[in-house]
């Protein structure tokens, strides 16, 4: 403990803590916040193989939603549908809707490049551009015209690096290549790059699986802070990570959502036997 408590201050602290306890109406069900992204009856095929079956999922504003499930269950495929990354794969066919703020992102009128400024992505392996730390952040805003003057870009680089918790570590070496940073720093640089274009949603595909435990903890802490301003959807194989960072969790199995609920319920008292078997490490 940082401050030493005397008996008197300890008594006072307890009295303060118990004020209002009588007015507490007890535990209540978690109120679900506003929906930012929504998948409706989403089906996806790779050629003739169906990878996603009738996916319906709400992703809440200013919440972290974790997608868990065994390899090949469709969770990363689904994540990539949320900013149309699957468009790049020629044999992919998709039915159903994905909505961002009630607008269908697969509508013909949607500009995919613009969409990806609203729905950013952070990948498993940190992939900074082979440019300076500064240019890694400034590149997209300059491209999209959201930062034009040097002063504007300087401010944007600083604020993005600060929000990604990296500023103090790199402020004096913005000209060094991003690739020279440590793995954890590179991943935070990629997160800073994603937030530089001021997205509404950040998608993360196994963002900490290539990092050591300390760098992982830093990235998880960052996710926790970013949640206040962004909607975050994270794919992770690490169940404890989902339990630590996510407010809501969806369990995918064989291209379907088996169970979706608040994370506390899913990890203590899941409804479905398949969820139970997966999260407890039993034979399914």
């Amino acid at each position: 403990m940082e401050t030493e408590l005397t008996n008197d201050t300890a008594t006072e602290a307890r009295q303060t803590m118990t004020q209002g306890v009588d007015n507490d109406n007890g535990p209540s069900q978690k109120e679900r916040p506003e929906v930012r992204m929504r998948a409706r009856d989403l089906n996806l095929w790779y050629g003739s193989t169906q990878a996603l079956h009738d996916i319906n999922l709400d992703m809440y504003s200013r919440e972290v939603t974790a997608l868990i499930g065994p390899s090949g269950c469709g969770k990363s495929t689904f994540l990539r549908c949320l900013n149309r990354m699957n468009d790049l794969i020629p044999e992919v066919r998709l039915e159903g809707r994905v909505e961002l703020d009630d607008e269908d992102i697969y509508d013909h009128s949607v500009d995919v490049v613009q969409l990806r400024t609203h729905v950013g992505m952070v990948f498993q392996k940190p992939n900074p551009f082979p440019k300076s730390i500064y240019e890694n952040i400034a590149y997209a805003p300059r491209l999209h015209g959201t930062g034009t003057s040097r002063a504007e870009l300087d401010a944007l680089v600083e604020s993005s690096l600060k929000r990604a918790g990296l500023w103090n570590e790199v402020a004096d070496r913005l000209d060094t290549p991003g690739t020279e940073l440590s793995g954890g720093q590179q991943q935070r640089l990629c997160i800073a790059r994603a937030i530089a274009v001021n997205p509404e949603v950040i998608l993360m595909d196994e963002p900490a699986s290539a990092l050591d435990p300390l760098a992982t903890a830093t990235v998880e802490e960052l996710i926790h802070e970013l949640k206040d301003n962004y909607t975050i959807v994270i794919v992770t194989h690490n169940l404890q990570q989902a339990a630590r960072v996510a407010g809501y969790t969806a369990f995918f199995h064989m291209g379907k959502i088996v169970e979706f609920s608040d994370t506390d319920t899913l990890f203590t008292n899941p409804t479905e036997q398949r969820t139970e078997d997966y999260i407890t490490g039993r034979f399914g």
Binding site: L239, Q240, A243, F267, T268, N269, P270, T271, Q273, T275, E276, D277, I279, T280, G281, R282, F283
Partner: protein, 240 residues
């Protein structure tokens, strides 16, 4: 829900850890039953040897509680259990606390029994006390059976026996208070009988607690501080 026992984890070591924990809880429960049985024989029949046995054997139960707590801590740290595994570990940690306290209450009954003379027994409502003792002994056994079989419905039935135990306790205390009013010089031995009766009643309460943990494990519902009707509903209804 089919909780699939504890032998279906991909990790065999994990299966063994959980199975060992359950076995140790059952062993601890068996010791507690023996202590209670001996304490009742000491109290009701005046068997001094049993009384001394109870007083000197409680340390074994305490040691098992400490050992099981350590094992559960290790499982939490190393396995990070989830869902039914997590509920099992939490239920075990709470169950062994209540078992240890039942052991303490049995020890207290044994200690009080050693103070009593035959004439003290003859002056007290010993038949009623014996009936309360049998009732709570049945509750301990039933709670441990429900735990062993992970049977939420049996847990409800056993917990409901606490209503009877409370009524038996009230009746005995009324009898003893009346006796004390009429025989104010008998306060010390009668107080011993009051303490022993109180301990038996507490054993009923703690058996009920164990039943609540069984329901929590099996159904994922926290039924502490609820009515018996609500408890029965949670134990038999849909899980969600």
């Amino acid at each position: 829900m089919d909780t699939k026992g504890f032998s279906q984890h991909i990790s065999r070591q994990y299966n063994e850890d959980l199975e060992q924990i359950i076995t140790r809880v059952m062993t601890m429960g068996g010791l507690v039953e023996q202590q209670l049985e001996a304490a009742l024989e000491a109290l009701v029949d005046g068997d001094q040897a049993k009384g001394e046995q109870v007083v000197t054997s409680d340390y074994r139960i305490n040691a098992m509680e400490v050992e099981l707590d350590e094992t559960c801590t290790t499982v939490l740290a190393r396995r990070q259990p989830a869902a039914s595994d997590l509920r099992l570990i939490l239920a075990v940690i709470k169950t062994i606390t209540d078992l240890e306290r039942i052991g303490d209450e049995a020890e207290r009954v044994g200690r009080m029994a050693l103070h009593l003379l035959d004439e003290d027994r003859q002056r007290s409502p010993m038949a009623e006390i014996a009936a309360l003792g049998e009732n709570v002994k049945g509750m301990v056994r039933g709670a441990l059976d429900a735990f062993t079989r992970m049977d939420a419905e049996q847990a409800v039935r056993v917990a409901q026996e606490d209503i009877k135990a409370d009524a038996q306790y009230d009746s005995i205390i009324r009898h003893l208070v009346k006796y004390l009013e009429e025989n104010p010089k008998s306060v010390p031995p009668v107080l011993d009988i009051v303490w022993a009766t109180r301990s038996l009643e507490r054993i009923g309460d703690r058996s009920r607690n164990i039943c609540e943990y069984v329901i929590y494990f099996v159904r994922g519902k926290d039924v502490r501080h609820t009515s018996f009707e609500q408890m029965a509903e949670e134990a038999t209804g849909d899980r969600h």
